[in-house]
Amino acid sequence: MSRYFIDRNAKYLVLACASISFIILAAIAIFTLREALPAFQHVGFIQLIFGTTWRPTIGQFGILPMIIGSIAVTLGAMILAIPLGLGCAVLLAEVAPHRVRQFLRPAVEILVGIPSVVYGLIGILLIVPLIRHIGGSGYSVAAGALVLTAMVLPTIISISEDSIRAVPRRYKEGALALGATHWQTIWHVLIPAARSGITAGIILGMGRAIGEAMAMIMVTGNAVQIPTSPLDPTRTLAGGIAVEINYASGLHQSALFAIGVVLFILILAINSIAILAIRRGRRVQDVG
């Protein structure tokens, strides 16, 4: 084989490699949808999404409680993680001296690497008993939200920090030259300029929270019900799939794939918004 022959064909080989991701994405969409089809047909799309009773044994497949469960834990986590994460990002990008940063950044990186089951275990052993003191069994929306807070924190911190850092230096200098305090500069100039990157970080964090299955199974109690208080147990979409998939069959299994479809569409929407936000952020910074 001549080197020219290899050179001509190598391009197609690496192109094939590059196409695999998209093919997998399409295959996931097609196969999940195909498996979910019986459930959509027998139960009906509206009945499935808005039904409030999930009783596979008598053929009732309403996933609204799980949708609300997912939203509840995610929202709870976001309420805690957004201010914390943003504060930490500002600390890393603007406030902390070099030595603190050198210590804090690796700490955030380690937080990313901790397995979700370890978060779940800590949840069972530390957070659930803590919440039990306040009321209920402890396995609850609140426990899920607290565990997720720790899990999404690193995502929000690192993306927000990057986008605050990417704000052109002259923005900051301009504000300081006008007599603004450091904090006024951060709040009125840097954070607004980095807004789209910060939004992207928050949205990606949300995606991570909605998709988390195992840690949620471990701490939310898994009762399929619409929670009325943070102390109530609940079940999330992702957790709901994992809890039952190993013994489900027939229509029940199909209904679990339908949950997968809902989750997939949700994540697709969330990620598209995040990608758009990141692109817009880049454009703004290029122009500015």
Binding site: I122, A150, L153, M214, N246
Partner: protein
Amino acid sequence: MSKMSAKSTQKLAKAFIWGSGFITVIILFLIIGYVLARGLPQISLSFLFTAPQGGLSGEGGISTAIVTTIYLVALTIAILIVPGIGAAIYLTEYAKDNWLTSIIRYGVDTLAGVPSIVFGLFGFVIFVTVLHFNFSILSGALTLVCLLLPTLIRTSEEAIKAVPRSHREAALALGSTKWQAIWHVVLPAALPGIVTGIIICIGRILGETACLYVTMGGSSAMPTSLLSGGRTLALHLFYLATETNAFEKAMATAAVLIIVILVINTIINWLSHRFQARMHGGA
């Protein structure tokens, strides 16, 4: 707003900012400290080298989980390397700014956000059911390859991009073909960065559970081939924590996992510092 109040707002805000950094560090130390404090005393040679009893007792060690994890990591990385690095080469060296590239990019970016459990459903249909690999290490590994492809592509891309243009130009000027320049010059120079990406993937395999829970079956027996089912360390931890009351064993398993992940993080930091130093020095 008077000057005084702007100053005191600033004080308050900075207190909050430092506070949030402090809380983040506390969370980390709490998790690592708690797991190590309760888990480390439980770890012994016999814990590492005896098989778990399985079932509801949760007694025994973690030997089979360690072996399964090693098999799974080796098989996943072996399958992942060619498509991952190949895609990165295409995106950095060949891709033009056209519709094809945007579709490929969209695929990589979107796949990166798909939840682990959805990959699990997909692997369950394709590998476990349609291809009849059953609940096995092979099914788990193939599912992980789908999950990790975007991670390896992105990290390898960064590594390849960091190789200075002058390297490529020098090779081309000496009469090499484009592929020879990539194969003999660009890839060797990017190798430490690519290795970093592979190690990041290994770290993620160790922590992954949802997609493996659905594709590996969770047997606690020693795997005899790649078609045996099994449980990784993280899966074993999950079973212990949810199906048994053996929380001490769960903590010990968590401690083993945390230690391995800390080691991996240290290697990644060391490698990427070295890589950056070389790229900046060698240009």
